[in-house]
């Protein structure tokens, strides 16, 4: 774990969509506060609709919260901070009309990296994720796991202190997730970046995170923060250890009732909308 610097400070952030009383009104997230330390890997986990992705978007400056504020270093977040924060999306945000290398270059161009520096940085980050041989391929020609590695390379090349990842492995099969998770852990232990990571997977949260923030059902807030005291890089053996299982069980216990609540909510709202509760 890193020093006492706080990379990100979330202060009483809450968010709602739409106007109260209108049909599109959704209370996405209740007042939430959180301190994220420099160099730590923090996981946000919770049932569907609990607000974890909303919080991530607020931290990343992609969403202005209806109340509260987020501070990155000493700056208040009022919009994207491309110099400090890189964002990796769940559904692949690689531009399909550009090659992998072009994608990475474009990211740096948007950020403002001078032209001469882009190519070496791009090549370096592609090598880090193991995609050097696929630099001139189009995303459509790659598998899901490779595409997410390319998206990660793009984020790494921006050389920000903070990386936000919204269920980056969500669209992948379990085996690919496991392998990429291990790779990510190795990578992160080397770079010392601050990572905030949203996931649905309990195993992923325990395996990767230094701390796990558990959300309650919608409208959610952070129910509890679990500490995972295990050095990086995490070995594959950690996954089968007793410590891992205990932590995972703790998480499960915390989440289980929230997931039930979320399911009941969705059935209720479906019925209210005239459905048969079966979808």
């Amino acid at each position: 774990m890193a020093g006492n610097d706080l990379a990100i400070r979330v202060r009483n952030v809450s968010h709602q969509f739409g106007e109260e009383g209108s049909t599109q009104f959704v209370r996405a997230m209740l007042e939430t506060s959180l301190d994220i330390h420099r160099g730590e890997l923090l996981c946000l986990i919770g049932p569907s609709g609990c607000g974890k992705s909303t919080l991530l978007n607020v931290i990343g400056g992609l969403l202005t919260p209806t109340s509260g504020q987020v501070l990155v270093g000493d700056t208040e977040v009022r919009g994207p901070l491309p110099q400090e924060i890189a964002y990796v999306f769940q559904e692949n945000a690689l531009f399909p009309w550009s090659t992998v290398l072009e994608n990475v270059n474009l990211g740096m161009m948007f950020q403002g990296v001078p032209k001469a520096e882009r190519e070496p940085r791009a090549r370096k980050s592609l090598a880090t994720v193991g995609l050097s041989d696929f630099a001139n391929h189009y995303p459509g020609q790659l598998s899901g796991g490779m595409r997410q590695r390319a998206a990660l390379a793009r984020a790494l090349s921006l050389e920000t202190g903070i990386i936000l990842m919204d269920e980056p492995f969500g669209a992948l099969d379990e085996q690919t997730r496991m392998v990429l998770g291990e790779d990510l852990s190795v990578l992160l232990s080397r770079t010392g970046k601050t990572i905030v990571f949203v996931t649905h997977s309990l195993g992923e949260a325990v395996f990767l995170a230094d701390r796990v923030a558990v959300f309650s059902a919608r409208p959610g807030t952070i129910k509890e923060v679990i500490k995972i005291d295990e050095p990086h890089p995490r070995k594959p053996g950690f996954m089968t250890s007793e410590k891992f299982t205990d932590l995972r069980n703790t998480l499960f216990a915390l989440l289980h009732e929230e997931i039930r609540k979320a399911m009941e909510q969705s059935v209720a709202s479906d019925r209210a909308a005239g459905g048969d509760g079966k979808s």
Binding site: S14, Q16, E20, R27, L30, E31, T66, S216, T221, K223
Partner: protein, 272 residues
Amino acid sequence: MTSTAYPTQPRSAVPLGRRFKRWILARPGVARLGVIALLFIAWEIAARFFVDKIFLSPPSLVFTQINTVFETTGVPNALRVSAYEIVVAFVMSVAIGLAVGLAVGLHRFSQKSFMPIILLLYGTPQITILPLFILYFGIGPASKIAFGVSHGIFPIIVTVVAGVQNIKPILLTSAKSMGASRWHIFRWVIFPHMIPSFFAGMRLGMTGVLLGVLLAELYVSTAGIGYYTTLFTQSFNPTKLLGLISVLAAMAILLNEIVRRAELHYSRWRSD
């Protein structure tokens, strides 16, 4: 975990201008009507103050004097004949299109042999042979109907063939595994599956028929609608000309809408 009440502003505190802006922003349909109204107003102003009266007539005049269009001898009859031509051409297009589409689409081989020919014909500019149609069928309704049919059958054939060919093989396999005969498969699997495509084809077919019949009508300047459009044009009567065009446009919109509703109704099971 605390839940705080969210303060809301009382309605009276929001200024009227902003309330209107929010209201209109929530209703694009109203804004659209506003745009249409603006266009009509622009037309009115342009016709009244900027353009010579022999070239353009304001909507206020066109629509209040629409009865003069109908009172012109022969116009109601011409309209009736045109409507008749469209309906007949449409019915014939549907019948022929369905028959040919099924004949071609049901077998891989016939589809591969004849579709390229059909697509080639579909892609040729039929307007070039309009004078031939008039030569062969005369200036009466027959040529208009024929030209309408010639435009209407192709989209129907193409969509029927597509509807038959696009059936997921798994559906056919499961029917066969339950022992369905070839007639059963056609009646209960292929035919219902093809219906949404068929209706989509009919919508395009109606567009084609309208185009074909109207083209033929406008071309023949010695009788029918074409006679009156030519008459009003040559006598520089924009009021009546615009009136006649509006009636025809209304007729076209109505017919298109009928077919479109039918399509929506019969495609309900489609999830795509």
